[in-house]
């Protein structure tokens, strides 16, 4: 199985990447105990920042970006992690998903997560990320994981699980969806023409 994590963190090292890695590990462990072999690939949007901007201007992706998009759309499960910028996902995060065909993530199991300096922004997952992936008709798991700076050095309290427990819960939810889903079909270039033809099947010219 192919698990892809998209990280929009900008610093190196980045807590956004750290969260993406922890989530991916959790999903892999969970699927591993069920006997599924999971291949994890992490896409760092920082490395694609110029290509993303160029695509916005030219209308087509340069090859490295095109293969990143193919990786995301071909994944069996997707983890999407963004830092919170100005009360929402980062512009780079949104721009990357703006470049993906709106139908390409339909039904795809997705786990959304975010990092921020303060826990006061945690609902960004519910008012920004979840609607974004709902629009894309992805299957977003119920648990979204927010990691504020303080979470990296704290356990849970009487109201909330700590970060590791939330990561495990979200990871298990994604693992269930991925295991239940038939494996994504590899799309060769030749098949893309067939795909185009499929789009035409409901068009009749008189």
């Amino acid at each position: 199985m192919k698990l892809v994590a998209v990280s929009a963190g900008l610093s190196t090292p980045s807590s956004t990447r750290l969260l993406a890695d922890r989530l991916a590990e959790s999903v892999r462990d969970d699927l591993g105990t069920q006997g599924h072999e999971v291949e994890v690939e992490v896409i760092e949007l920082r490395e694609l920042a110029l290509a993303v901007a160029n695509n916005l201007v030219t209308g087509f992706p340069a090859s490295q970006l095109a293969s990143a998009i193919d990786t995301v759309t071909g994944a069996d499960g997707l983890i999407a992690v963004t830092p919170v910028f100005t009360a929402s996902y980062s512009g780079l995060f949104k721009s990357f998903f703006d470049l993906i065909d709106p139908a390409a993530l339909t039904g795809k199991p997705v786990l959304v997560a975010a990092t921020g300096g303060t826990a006061r922004h945690s609902l960004v997952l519910e008012h920004a990320l979840r609607p974004l992936f709902a629009y894309l008709r992805a299957a977003v798991v119920p648990t979204a994981v927010y990691a504020a700076s303080e979470d990296w050095g704290a356990g849970g309290d009487e109201y909330t699980d700590g970060l590791p427990a939330r990561i495990r819960r979200a990871g298990a939810e994604l693992a269930v969806l991925m295991a239940a889903r038939p494996p994504a079909e590899a799309e060769a270039p030749e098949d893309e023409v067939t795909a185009l033809e499929r789009q035409l099947s409901d068009l009749r010219f008189d």
């Binding site: 901007a53 201007v57 209308g59 033809e197 035409l200 068009l203």
Partner: protein, 383 residues
């Protein structure tokens, strides 16, 4: 219908030139009045319109086959009325084929297209074809009483009507998007009973490749803004569907490509001179570098030899094809520069392309369609 068969029909003169008539070469103009980034000067509408005409006349002078004008209904574009411009160019030229890139099949009334281009066909003695396009400027649709969400349906219905108007003397018609017609005759009737050849232009819509294939019309890929692999897939789809719809083999489909070049004797000079125009170009400027864009798309900036080699490589992408148009006048390039480019294109590039494209081209790949070839085919079919 094969090239040999057609050649025989046209006597010695045609036989003499048939080797070079395989393909048509020309220019297509968007008609943007863009500031020249090197001096900030924007041409007036009058200057730009006259420049487009000068470019068309130059195209004939340097031995090119086709001039195609865009159609736009918003600034900074000047060509809103293509047949007015093409009618004038028709009077000033003798061999040039006058075409469009593109004619808006969505927002124009198909009845008016039938009449306008029927008229132009007579004025230009048949030197007319046209390329259908949908147009992607949202507000143009409501300005012409239409809805962009119906773009594909408009293209489908309007084009189906247009074909009937050119092929049936009296048309009764009812559709979704325009007033019904009862007992309507579009005048003038197509010259010699042969409707203008139609290309369908599209960058990314498989529906349009399908439409072209369904009718056995030509398919033109703009081929400027996208990597070659994308163009290959679109053309491949069109060819397969052309065969599927029973018009012949995939190799018999009629394919046209765009291209974009800037040339100087020394490639470094070409790059240096073109860079500010590239960097500020309205469509793709302020994005990737000239070098990146050249690598990723068919844009070629360099010596005539580099342009020849790159253009010849298009055949590897789409197979033997019929029409190659170049975008030469855009992004604020001065008329003087564009005319120099056309001199190089006509004198140094296209003669070599004609010879080289003919090498290894199977004899049964169709020639580029002309009024004469379509008339001959029609007479052949009737006889």
């Amino acid at each position: 219908m094969t090239a040999t068969w057609k050649s025989l029909d046209f006597g010695n003169q045609y036989l003499f030139t048939s080797k070079e008539a395989y393909m048509q070469f020309g220019v297509f103009s968007v008609g943007d009045a863009t500031p020249d980034p090197t001096n900030g000067r924007t041409p007036s509408e009058r200057e730009r319109i006259k420049a487009m005409i000068a470019i068309a006349l130059k195209a004939e002078e340097v031995g090119l086959d086709v001039f195609a004008t865009g159609e736009h209904h918003n600034p900074p574009f000047v060509p809103s009325s293509p047949t007015t411009m093409l009618g004038y160019i028709a009077a000033r030229t003798e061999k040039l084929i006058l075409s469009t890139a593109t004619t808006l099949i969505t927002t124009n009334d198909p009845v008016k297209i039938a009449e306008d281009y029927g008229m132009l066909q007579h004025v230009a003695d048949g030197r007319v074809d046209l390329m259908m396009g949908r147009g992607n400027t949202g507000p143009v649709y409501p300005w012409f009483g239409q809805d962009i969400r119906q773009g594909v349906n408009l293209a489908r219905e309007n084009y189906a009507l247009l074909r009937r108007l050119w092929r049936e003397d009296v048309v009764d018609w009812e559709g979704k998007f325009r007033t019904p017609l009862q007992g309507f005759t579009s005048t003038p009737r197509p010259l010699d009973g042969v409707p203008p050849f139609v290309w369908h232009g599209s960058i990314r819509s498989p529906e349009i490749a399908e439409q072209a294939a369904f009718y056995g019309d030509g398919f033109f890929h703009n081929n400027i803004f996208w990597p070659a692999d994308h163009t290959r897939r679109m053309v491949q789809l069109y060819r397969r569907r052309y065969a599927f719809h029973g018009h012949g083999r995939a190799e018999d489909a009629i394919v046209g490509l765009g291209g974009q070049v800037f040339m100087r004797k020394n490639s470094q000079d070409a790059v240096r001179e073109f860079r500010p125009y590239f960097d500020n170009a309205p469509v793709y400027g302020h994005g990737p570098s000239l070098e990146e864009f050249t690598e990723q798309t068919p844009l070629t900036v360099g010596s005539p030899q580099q342009v020849i080699e790159r253009t010849l490589s298009f055949r590897e992408t789409v197979g033997d094809y019929q029409r190659q148009l170049f975008l030469m006048d855009h992004a604020g390039l001065s008329l003087k520069t564009v005319l120099e480019q056309l001199d190089i294109l006509g004198e140094e590039v296209v003669p070599v392309l004609r010879k080289e494209f003919a090498v290894g081209r199977p004899a049964d790949v169709p020639d580029a369609p002309t009024h004469e070839s379509l008339r001959a085919a029609r007479e052949g079919a009737v006889a």
